[in-house]
Structures are given as C-alpha cells and as structure tokens.
Symmetry: C3
Subunit: 138 residues, 3 copies
C-alpha cells in the first residue's frame, strides 16, 4: 500500500471559487498509485471544497448569490463579538461546505465526470495563502 | 490491503431520491474486505449522495421542499446563459450536497444506523443513466 | 497497512454542537498510524459532523440561528405523519450536514488548522447517547 501526502499552495481573494482540478491531477501524477482514493483537504475553518462545472455563470454569479442568500455577509454575527473580527459568514459557509472531499482513483486517473471540476472556495474576508493537501491512499 | 472498485447503474428521473443502500451492500458482499471504508461516489456535477431515513414523507415531500426553498428550480440562473440549458438549480444542489460519501466497514458490514439509508439524489432536469462507484479500501 | 476502528460515546442534548477534537486525538494516540486518514462517523440520520472554530458566538448563537433559518424546527413536516414523531427538521439537517468526515493524518497528528475543531451536531429533538466511530487507515 502507498500512503502519500502532497500539497500545493494558492493565493486567494474573498469569494474566490478556484478550479484546483489540475493541481490535484499533477499531484496524482507524481505518486505511485493506480487505484485508491485521494482526500482533498484544506486545514482551516473559513474555506470549503466541493465540485462544480467550472463556468463563469456558476462560479462568478450563481454560487456567490446562493452563499449570500443562505449565509449572508453583512449581519453582525455573535462571532464578531468574540474576537472583534467580521467573518462570521465565512465560518458558517465552511461549516456547511467543509474543506474535505474524497475522490476515487482508477487506473491512475481521478474518477471525474466530463464537466466535474474540484474547487476550493475562499470564504474568508481577506486575501489568504492556503495550503491544500492531497492525501493519497491506494 | 484490498483496493477494489465496483459500480452499478441507475435509471433516474428529475428529483429522484433513490435508496442505494442495498446496491452498496451487494457490492460489499462481493469484495474480500472485513474492515475498512467505502467511498460511495458519482462522477458528475448534477447529483448528490447523502443519508436519510427512507420514508415517503421525507423523500417525496420534505426534502424536495427544502431543496426548492434553498436552491429553487425556476429562476433564470446565469448558468443558463452560458450553455442555453436550464439546470442551474441542479448544479447549485450538487455543489451543496456533493456526490461523495465515506462509510466505515466493520466485520464485513456497512456501519449504518437502524434507520440510516444511503441515497442518490438526481438533481438534473432530465432522466439520466447514472453510474455509481463504490471504492473499497481495507 | 493498519485498519483500526475506535469508538467513543457522547451524551447529547438537542441542538448540542460538541467539540470532539480531543476524543479523536485520543483515539489516534492509541493506534499505530503515522500517515493516513481517519473517517469520523456517526451511524444515524439525525446528527451531523463538521468543522468549526469552537467559540460560543458561533456554536451557541450563529450556527443554531443558521440551522433554524434553513431547516426550521416547528413546521408540521410530512415526516411527522409517517411515524407520529416531530423531528422532521432533524432529518433535514442531517441530510444537508451528514455525519461523515475524512481528515488526513501526518506524522501521527491530525492535520487541523489552528482554530479548526471537529464537531458533532445533535440535530435530534431528545437527549441521546451517541457512539462516534473513528475508522483509521494508514
């Protein structure tokens, strides 16, 4: 069995929804795994990882509108009173869309649909440098 | 260690919430794993996988009403302008409820609660044939 | 390879959001794994597992308010007519925030951010005794 952890970094801005599919494919290409899984993961509590068809209508307009409807930026959340910061919405979004996702690997390839891309969502209110981990097991 | 990928197919209709527990159990019965995990997974960006107590009140009424409230079918999403299709709501639902779920296996059985069933949710607007993968590791 | 399943129990009350990070760390300390993953999991359909910065503003006020907004307790869900119970909201919350989460392990430690804690969310309407499982693979 192979267990191998690879990482890559991203420079992010608030509300970014970044296509990280090629980063994960590149990581996979450097490990000796034909069949297994990868857990794509970001250590933190103000980001999320999910799948989406990566086109501007969804990632620039529809998903940001959904997030703003469900967990709006703006209200004075109780979280703000604890630390004096303003990112209550960031934590709520990460609670609902956590930064951990498992994907099967078959014959050396990620098992993805034609239009399915892996995205990292920056929910925080400030630019960040994020480290994304790919834990391969197979 | 055993790594084994099995698959099964489903014919689906829009808004289907299908109980796939027996499909996954049947796949498990054919692999030589006593302890480990299974990643239940659908490659695509307009479906979801989750757990639910499988009874008609929830799967025919309450969950469809929840999905329609949070991510309604009907609005003219920006996604529609990119491709000329009408399934923006399908992508939003799959973003929030992604088609990947990991379940422990103990002594050759899925570790499920008494009422807990695994479901595939068809979020797309047209009938589909879906392939669901079970990646077993143990 | 090591595959080891550990468990711990929690006594819960409705709307509890409990920090289980130390329980998972303690389980990890007793298994012979340096690198791999843990699937933190609760068998059941009225609880959830996610990450959050564990401070009272979020766990006592902001997250309960979010859950009540998205999937309110109160309405007479169709689920209630099937069994005569009153926990339709519990099932909806668990459908959206399922009780399964995978976390990488590196050099014998959970790969967690500074403020990132693992939480079990009790969505049911009555006090429960819950068993949480940690399936370690590495």
């Amino acid at each position: 069995m192979v267990v191998e952890l690879l990482e890559f970094s991203l420079t992010t801005h608030p509300n970014d929804i970044l296509n990280i599919t090629d980063h994960v494919k590149k990581a996979l290409a450097s490990v000796a795994i034909s069949n297994g899984i990868v857990v794509v993961y970001m250590p933190g509590s103000t980001g999320g990882i999910s799948f989406v068809e990566y086109e501007p209508g969804l990632v620039k307009t529809d998903i940001p509108a959904l997030l703003q409807k469900l967990m709006p930026e703006g209200p004075d959340y109780s979280h703000h009173q604890t630390w004096g910061d303003h990112n209550g919405h960031s934590h709520l979004r990460s609670f609902l869309i956590p930064p951990s996702l498992s994907i099967p690997i078959r014959d050396g390839h990620l098992l993805l649909g034609t239009w399915q891309q892996i995205v990292f969502c920056e929910f925080d209110e400030k630019p960040r440098t994020r480290t994304i981990y790919c834990q391969f097991i197979g």
